[in-house]
Symmetry: C2
Subunit: 233 residues, 2 copies
Amino acid sequence: MKTIVICSGGLDSVSLAHMVAQEHQLTRLVSFDYGQRHRKELDFAALCAERLGVPHNIIDLRSIGAVLTGSALTDDIDVPDGHYEEDSMRVTVVPNRNAIMLTVAFGFAAAQGDEAVATAVHGGDHFIYPDCRPAFTESFEKMQKFALDGYANVALHTPFVHQSKADIVTAGARYNTPFDLTWSCYKGGAQQCGRCGTCVERREAFHLAGVTDPTSYADPDFWTAALARQAGV
Amino acid sequence: MKTIVICSGGLDSVSLAHMVAQEHQLTRLVSFDYGQRHRKELDFAALCAERLGVPHNIIDLRSIGAVLTGSALTDDIDVPDGHYEEDSMRVTVVPNRNAIMLTVAFGFAAAQGDEAVATAVHGGDHFIYPDCRPAFTESFEKMQKFALDGYANVALHTPFVHQSKADIVTAGARYNTPFDLTWSCYKGGAQQCGRCGTCVERREAFHLAGVTDPTSYADPDFWTAALARQAGV
């Protein structure tokens, strides 16, 4: 099945790209530039496309990002440190972001003759992001059947929607994903910080999966200390 | 109910804006620039916003239009003359255009605290555009409930979805829409051509509604001659 993968350059979507390349017919990676403060992760999506031998299309949504205000990903609000918590991470929510990216990807798939769009939404994001939940993705796929009726038939693949981020690490390892060539950090340093919500979540996922994390972090001890505190050491 | 109207500057959406301004609380008009060949209709959307005393936001989707190839609205394919026919008008279909515009409008509404998005999709477009049919709009509204769950509650208003374009002319007249300040023509002349599919459809709608068409057309006789042929004169 000819499949587009929506790839941010993060651990989840790069793992997905490697999985689709082996299990289906990967046609291209699509990334979105919605004016996120740090575009570094897009370089890792480009590297992934090169590695897998497919085109990489970056679709410019900056004019849309500009109107979707109130988000730390696009505005000058500080990104909170530490573990994801509902209140502190609400500022990272861009309203309707997944729905917008998916409708654009489906239009692109229809224009290109692709048969599926794959996205790496996963269970770990459910409690904070409504547009990562199965109720949303199932409803979205139904809506698209009606929107493209008679013109194209494009499926939505969400292999991780009922899984945890640790499960993604396990799957990524199985498909030989080079994890050190993926970017999760919300901050824009030379190395991933090791302290922000996504860095902590990433380290925890490797820990729970029992997979060695090859990533070099600016503050490698932040997570280790958190783990020690948790163990009561 | 605080309502955004998606307004292209055409007869349908300008009539809708006048209706919403009187029946609800119109907060703004939103137009989309997706790289359509003639942006003249956007000027009529701007005039409408000025007349109704609300902001007009033009959202730049040109980078998306560029990837949704194969359409006469964005590419250099000739626009067919004459009445809408399924085959000849297929070239004007931009895949997933309504779904994309609606998801962006819903994100914008959520960010602005608006409670509804209104769109002028109507029954006359059903046979050719799947994303103008009730099955699509109902499914879309459900999908949005899941996508924004816990963050915003935005309704989709489609007052014309079960109506004909002639019904829109009737409604537009009731709400004192200045029809001469609306643009339908797919070609880019100083006046509307009177010959293309949308011009013919527009003239037919006034005829069927029994409302005088105040519009000045470059070829006013094209429709009159068609009508005479139809009557066997």
